[in-house]
């Protein structure tokens, strides 16, 4: 409900920890245009992402059951990913795009255990997330943006609301079973800002350069502490069922044991002339073992014993995460590494080679 802010005498509320000022500074750099960490400003990211997020109107509208929600386009023909909820209880929903265009959407499929549904509108050349390309991963500390139709604030041709936050944790929702009543149990991002509000579920969480991290979850309240959890389902959990629903091959999944995923890695540290320490434990710190003479890494000034702390915007706690991040690079991408050398942090710029050495599809398991 919208209310006026009334003021109070006397009562003082304790406020939690302060916001992440340091990270704000990192963001400011981007917005100041120094281009060291990212060439794209937040405003540009928002202009790019907003058109891919849609407002959905359907069943509800009584008592606490709001009749509005969010979704995001994943195909130019109008496939929309959203959260499975009472809004989809009718035969059809109304979908409004950022430019005010209205469509009638049909529910194509749903996977309640994942809180996932696909709605289809008839369109052409619609802005959308390409799930093979525009996706990313983030670790704790990463700055993120959340886009959604929260509180139905945006109407007609207004783009959805966007708020900023920081990934507080990557964890599993199932760890708190009995405390949280949610059908979904699996990996989630926990965000430090209030991403999950009325109408926000089905919206997106992205990196600050606009890569899709996941779908905003529903409002979830801890039965013990009465606090609210702002969680986001990583897109990697949804990608396969989304593709199967779109292609009509979807079968409700028999088990949650699909850990052994095979991913295509386009680049590795060796492509830049970096040899990392052997990945011996589950969280091997990402130390540089050796720099190949004459390589791009050497030219950029990387040295043996450097500890890689950030790849781009992502905090790198282990060799495994480092390999994932390198695997996601596109030919020609700029690559910024932050390394710890002695007691200093150094920032190093590299450019991903134009030709991927692994275009012939090499696969490796993490």
């Amino acid at each position: 409900m919208r209310q006026r802010l009334w003021t109070i005498a006397g009562e003082v509320c304790r406020v939690g920890s302060l916001g992440p000022w340091g990270l704000l500074s990192v963001l400011f750099i981007g917005s100041l245009g120094s281009g060291q960490l990212s060439a794209q400003s937040i405003s540009e990211t928002i202009e790019d992402v907003s058109p891919k997020v849609v407002k959905i109107f359907g069943a509800g509208g009584r008592k606490n059951l709001y009749d509005y929600g969010s979704g995001f386009l994943v195909s130019p023909q109008g496939h929309i990913v959203t959260v499975w909820s009472h809004i989809l209880d009718g035969d059809a929903v109304t979908v409004v795009l950022h430019d005010g265009r209205r469509f009638t959407g049909q529910i194509l499929g749903a996977e309640p255990p994942l809180d996932l549904a696909i709605v289809k509108i008839d369109g052409e050349d619609l802005p959308h997330f390409d799930l093979t390309r525009d996706v990313g991963e983030a670790g704790p500390g990463a700055t993120v943006l959340a886009f959604s139709n929260v509180f139905k604030v945006a109407t007609g041709d207004e783009p959805v609301s966007v708020i900023h936050g920081v990934v507080a944790a990557r964890t599993k929702l199932s760890a708190s079973r009995g405390v949280f009543e949610a059908p979904y149990s699996g990996p989630i991002y926990v965000v430090d800002s209030v991403t999950n509000n009325s109408g926000a579920a089905g919206g997106v969480l992205t990196t600050r350069d606009g890569r899709l991290l996941g779908m905003l979850g529903k409002e979830l309240r801890n039965n013990v502490t009465h606090t609210w959890l702002n969680y986001v389902v990583p897109i990697s959990e949804l990608q396969t069922p989304i593709e199967e629903m779109i292609t009509g091959k979807f079968k409700p999944r028999p088990s949650e044991d699909d850990e052994a995923k095979v991913t295509v890695r386009r680049f590795s540290p060796r492509d830049f002339g970096l040899v990392m320490v052997p990945d011996v434990v589950s969280r091997t710190p990402a130390y540089v073992d050796r720099v190949v003479p004459g390589s791009a890494a050497e030219a950029a000034g990387l040295k043996t014993d450097d500890l890689v702390v950030f790849v781009g915007e992502r905090l790198v706690p282990s060799c495994r995460v480092l390999l994932e991040e390198f695997g996601r690079l596109e030919p020609g991408d700029p690559l910024t590494l932050v390394v710890r050398r002695g007691d200093r942090l150094e920032s190093v710029q590299l450019t991903t080679p134009r030709n991927s050495p692994r275009n012939d599809v090499t696969t490796d398991s993490p």
Binding site: Q3, I8, G22, I42, G156, R340, L345
Partner: protein
């Protein structure tokens, strides 16, 4: 030696986060510079942030100074419960008296004046039309009344949306064209400033979306855009209860996403200019209109009486108009706060906490509110005004613009003004006690007796030029008190598009005149005289002033009514007879 300590990345993160002051790891210079710039910006603007407390000590909110002489903006819903005088704390640790100046109950804005200094630190007004989604903003103020030493709390966020429309909540409070932010806005932030990264004031924080989680921020706060407030500011400085406007027509969005006129009042200016039901609104106020909300957004940012460009399409043809906006509320709906039942201050409670919050053991019993003796003269109560004292000041200031005509003061007898119109014909105005006449060329003769009969549109199509001229004579030769009602209205662009003019309104019987003074130079540039409600006024525009027998008088003026040019008059002779002595019989 390398040590595989899992917590190393965490430590590093902490170092990055709290880089300031740490020497363990160097931080990139641009990061440090950005932070230093932000810190110094906040130090600079924090001096202008006001903590407002009701003089009763019961409740309060925030505000922001916008001029060195102490004018400060806040929310109407903050000051409406605070009385005519309030106490304001600045971050110099001092408490100042302040008086209410003007209010905008619809837009939830209040203007107050801090007293006792002429060198208050003031915020720089920004341009809220340039605010972009995603840019950094800082909300400052006194949330939860934490700032007992008057140092404002700062919260940072991004702009989440622009041109948002928030439906009226409760009575008539409406947030049109507001800025949505995720900067934390909480109870007590009301009335405080929203700054951009450059430290410019872009909005006044006033509302948040609250739901089941109690009355604390949940990521959606709304600020009234500063550009909207700028349009109302002179009216507020004039001690008024300013009103928003209506077009006199309602619109809706049809299935093809066209915004179409549903219903239109025949009395409205828009109707007289030709707008009809079924017409498609293309643009309004210079903005393209693609939804009914956008239309309401544009409407919500204008004061009543402004002339705003409107473009509509009918049968494939575009039409451009200038429409005059009508008052949104009846005067009786706009009662000042003392006549309204004050709402008690609310306290935030936990969602499941039904019990009242514990009493503050240190609370003082509310003291009866008395105006500070030194400042009592700065408040004057009058129906329809927030503080008539400031309207009186503004009236006196505008009337100084009539100084060039001072020699006419004692010449209230018969006036004869002669010259030529554009096509070369001659004209003579005669303004006498018995009646008003105009002769144009050989056979154009127009006359209106002053025998108490209804004012008439004479010459026909001029909007009542003879009556308008007589109003001008009354203004120049008699005291303003000779009108039955005088008030200062505020400022507006001349004829919708020209330079800013300040408006003084007078009334005699049913005849209203709006006197338009150049905002920068103070001179009278023209006036609009309206003979009755809901008709087009006679628009008299002074193009030049000349000297006739040592007396200043307009040497050239044009007259329009509706969307039609009536005539342009060039004066070559003028005769003014002295005011006859009162008849003794």
């Amino acid at each position: 030696m390398r040590q595989f300590v899992p917590s190393v990345p965490c430590l590093l993160l902490s170092t990055v986060v709290f880089a300031c002051g740490s020497s363990a790891f160097a931080v990139e210079p641009p990061v440090r510079d950005a932070e230093a710039a932000r810190v110094s910006m906040i130090e600079r603007v924090a001096t202008s942030v006001v903590a407002i407390f009701a003089s009763s000590g019961d409740g309060g909110g925030s505000g922001v100074l916008i001029s060195p002489d102490g004018y400060a903006l806040s929310n109407f819903h903050v000051t409406s419960g605070s009385g005519d005088f309030m106490k304001c704390g600045l971050n110099d640790g001092r408490l100042y008296d302040a008086v209410i100046v003007g209010i905008d109950p619809t837009g939830d804005v209040a203007l107050i004046k801090l007293l006792g200094r002429d060198d208050f630190p003031a915020a720089t007004l920004g341009d809220s039309d340039n605010v972009r989604v995603g840019e950094w903003v800082f909300a400052m103020g006194n949330p939860f009344l934490l700032a007992t030493d008057f140092h404002p709390t700062v919260t940072a966020g991004i702009v989440s949306g622009v041109h948002r429309y928030q439906y009226p909540a409760g009575t008539f409070l409406e947030y049109a064209d507001c800025i949505q932010t995720d900067a934390s806005i909480n109870p007590g932030n009301s009335g405080g400033p929203l700054f951009n990264a450059a430290g410019e004031l872009i909005g006044i924080n006033g509302r948040g979306s609250f739901e089941k989680r109690g009355r604390v921020n949940i990521g959606a706060g709304y600020a009234i855009s500063i550009n909207q407030i700028k349009r109302f500011l002179d009216g507020l400085k004039g001690g008024r209860i300013v009103d928003h406007a209506t077009l006199g027509a309602t619109v809706s969005t049809n299935f093809d996403r066209e915004v179409v006129v549903d219903r239109i009042l025949e009395q409205s200016s828009a109707y007289r200019r030709g707008l009809r039901e079924g017409d498609q609104i293309v643009s309004f106020g210079g903005r393209p209109i693609g939804s009914a909300n956008q239309f309401k957004n544009v409407l919500g940012i204008y004061p009543d009486g402004w002339k705003v460009p409107l473009t509509y399409r009918r049968g494939g043809e575009r039409h451009d108009l200038l429409v005059e906006l009508r008052t949104l509320h009846r005067a009786s709906e706009m009662l000042p706060e003392r006549e309204r039942k004050p709402e008690g201050p609310r306290r935030p409670g936990k969602p499941d906490d039904k019990s009242p919050p514990p009493e503050d053991p240190h609370a003082h019993p509310p003291t009866p509110v008395a105006a500070p003796e030194a400042w009592k003269h700065l408040y004057e109560e009058r129906d329809g005004f927030a503080n008539y004292h400031f309207n009186r000041l503004a009236q006196a200031r505008l009337l100084k613009g009539l100084a060039p005509y001072a020699e006419l003061k004692s010449l209230g007898g018969r006036w004869k003004v002669a010259g030529t119109v554009a096509d070369g014909r001659t004209f003579v105005f005669t303004l006498a006690k018995e009646g008003l006449g105009l002769k144009v060329g050989k056979d154009g003769v127009y006359y209106m007796p002053l025998d108490g009969s209804e004012p008439i549109d004479e010459p026909p199509g001029s909007g009542g030029l003879l009556v308008a001229c007589d109003q001008f004579k009354q203004l120049l030769t008699r005291e303003p008190e000779s009108f039955s009602f005088v008030q200062y209205l505020g400022s507006e662009p001349l004829d919708g598009v020209g330079p800013a003019v300040e408006v003084l309104q007078t009334q005699v019987g049913v005849v209203h005149t709006r006197w338009l003074f150049h905002r920068e130079e103070g001179r009278l540039v023209g006036f609009d005289t309206t003979l009755a409600r809901d008709v087009d006024p006679c628009e008299f525009r002074i193009q030049s002033v000349g000297e006739f027998n040592g007396r200043h008088f307009p040497s050239s003026f044009s007259v329009r009514s509706g969307d039609r040019e009536f005539a342009t008059f060039r004066v070559n002779a003028a005769e003014f007879l002295p005011t006859p002595p009162p008849e003794t019989r």
